[in-house]
């Protein structure tokens, strides 16, 4: 538990108590599910963006493939959470291996473009072939089971499922960041060539970072149909990747916690604004511009401003 620290444990304890809040409705629990899932995926992306300095425009493909892995199994009567997540790890792992092998051979914008191109190929495949439902995707999935008899059927249970995923993913990210491997990633971000002449096989390290990030994202994707009961190609659209990136930026690059907050903030903002107006993206865009202009370190950067004021 020392990897997490008492503050993180306190936050998780508070999050665990959320369903107990009086007046907590089904709607808010599912919104909380979406917020935490989005936050966890933004955090996984942060491992790549914030720590390794690689911007992936293709994380939606990892996410969507994970969702399809669950949906395909469930459609065939497999309802076990473990089987679905395991299958997602295999599918996303194989795909990520190919993408990261080719993408990490290139730097900067080429890495971003390659991840985007691969993701678009996957999107197009699922969108235009009828095997997996075409543009409708796979709908009407049953509830998942953790153990025989323990079915994830209520919003509260779904919420705890995503909370468990977030906790595990966060612990993994913390361990990775604190390890020697994590130091090398930061070294690569700061200067790739320096890391190379110190004896690090930089593309292999980048590939490792990609794989961890992709697998965590894929598992997040695998959990999504357990709440929504469907998987559609839209989950793989590049705008989804863009929203992950935006969430990382809102929260604060290279902080892990920031992107979780950013993802949750983005999800809730989108939900709230879209329930009021149709042209909600204009509002969200405005909010993002304000954040980027006035909080370049993201929401988590506010912490520093306040602590500096308190010190002064």
């Amino acid at each position: 538990m020392s990897v997490l620290g008492w503050r993180a444990l306190l936050v998780f304890a508070l999050l665990a108590a959320l369903p107990l809040v009086p007046g907590m409705s089904r709607y808010y629990l599912l919104l909380a599910f979406d917020a935490l899932l989005f936050g966890a995926i933004a955090m996984s992306l942060d491992l790549l963006m914030g720590y390794t300095g690689l911007v992936s425009f293709g994380h939606a493909a990892f996410y969507g493939l994970g969702a399809y892995a669950t949906a395909i199994l469930m459609e065939r009567g497999v309802q076990s959470v473990w089987a679905c997540v395991g299958f997602a790890v295999v599918v996303v792992g194989l795909y990520a291996l190919v993408v990261s092998y080719f993408a990490t051979a290139r730097r900067g914008i080429y890495f971003a473009l390659l991840t985007l191109i691969f993701a678009e190929v996957v999107y197009t495949f699922f969108r235009y072939t009828q095997t997996f439902g075409g543009s409708d995707g796979i709908q009407g999935l049953p509830d998942a089971t953790v153990l025989p008899g323990l079915v994830i059927d209520t919003p509260t249970r779904k919420y705890y499922l995503v909370l468990a995923y977030l906790l595990i993913a966060y612990a993994i990210c913390r361990v990775v960041v604190a390890s020697h491997f994590g130091r090398v990633l930061v070294a690569i971000r700061e200067n790739e060539d320096r890391a190379r002449f110190l004896g690090y096989n930089v593309p292999r390290y980048k590939m490792g970072a990609c794989m961890i990030s992709a697998l965590l994202t894929g598992v997040g994707g695998a959990i999504y149909p357990m709440r929504s009961a469907f998987a559609t190609p839209d989950l793989m659209l590049w705008t989804e990747s863009g929203e992950f990136i935006i969430s990382v930026m809102i929260g604060g690059l290279g902080t892990l916690v920031g992107p979780i907050i950013g993802g949750a903030f983005f999800t809730i903002l989108r939900d709230k604004v879209s329930s009021i107006v149709d042209w909600y993206f204009i509002v969200i865009g405005g909010v993002l511009i304000v954040i980027v202009l006035f909080m370049p370190r993201g929401l988590l950067g506010l912490r520093r401003i306040f602590s500096r004021r308190a010190a002064a």
């Binding site: 130091r183 070294a187 200067n191 002449f197 110190l198």
Partner: protein, 232 residues
């Protein structure tokens, strides 16, 4: 190094450079700006592939190896402008240096750290400070300490005294002597011929991508060629 030709894109920079550094020697590579010294260094560590010619280290051909493989063979680079990792602490910078060591262990790390602190007590004081808070001289120390952590047997240094205060220049000079005493081979690239020749056994002068003169340090110090080519 034999007849090495190299360059960037279609632009040739090195026109058949040959030089030898024998084990345990400190050799200076002198020359003015833009004569190809840094290009030579980049080619030696594998960032640039030579167009022609061979580069060998302890009997192994380096020409086809990637930089990280060359580093693991025991070739360390102290690059120009003290390129440390500014966002990492001194300790993290040092520990990253260990990568090139074949078998990384906690024991080895402690021993190497102890050795580094013996030479650079100042780094111990700054251990948990981030790299960017160090002074120029301290960053240079850190860059040298980092290759010592790796246990490099051949260290390539690119302009280590550039922009440093005289006290630090002396310190770097002592450091190179110390490396030599430890049996490490040094190839020192310098514009500051006085400093370089005071620690090195031999020197080469490079001009427009070729070696134009080679002699012992003593001869170089007295030779009119040095004055003519380097303007000192």
């Amino acid at each position: 190094m034999r007849e090495v030709h190299a360059g960037y894109g279609a632009t040739p920079i090195l026109f058949g450079v040959s030089l030898d550094v024998r084990q345990g020697e400190a050799v200076a590579l002198l020359g003015k700006n833009g004569m190809g010294k840094t290009t030579l260094m980049k080619t030696a560590i594998g960032f640039l592939k030579p167009w022609r010619g061979t580069i060998e280290f302890e009997g192994r051909d380096l020409t086809r190896l990637a930089p990280h493989d060359i580093a693991r063979l025991g070739v360390g680079l102290v690059p120009e402008n003290r390129r440390i990792f500014p966002g990492l602490t001194v300790r993290e910078n040092l520990e990253l240096g260990l990568s090139a060591a074949p078998r990384r262990s906690a024991d080895l790390r402690e021993r190497r750290l102890a050795a580094v602190f013996q030479h650079f007590p100042r780094l111990r004081e700054r251990l948990d400070q981030s790299g960017k808070t160090l002074s120029g001289g301290e960053q240079q120390m850190l860059a040298i300490a980092r290759v010592m952590m790796a246990g490099a047997r051949l260290i390539l240094m690119d302009e280590p005294t550039q922009g440093l205060a005289p006290a630090f220049i002396r310190h770097i000079r002592d450091m190179i002597r110390e490396l030599k005493r430890l049996g490490v081979t040094v190839l020192l690239i310098e514009q500051n011929a006085r400093v370089a020749l005071s620690v090195c056994d031999r020197g080469y002068i490079m001009e427009k991508g070729v070696i134009v003169f080679e002699a012992s340090s003593r001869e170089l110090r007295e030779s009119p060629v040095t004055r003519e080519k380097l303007g000192v």
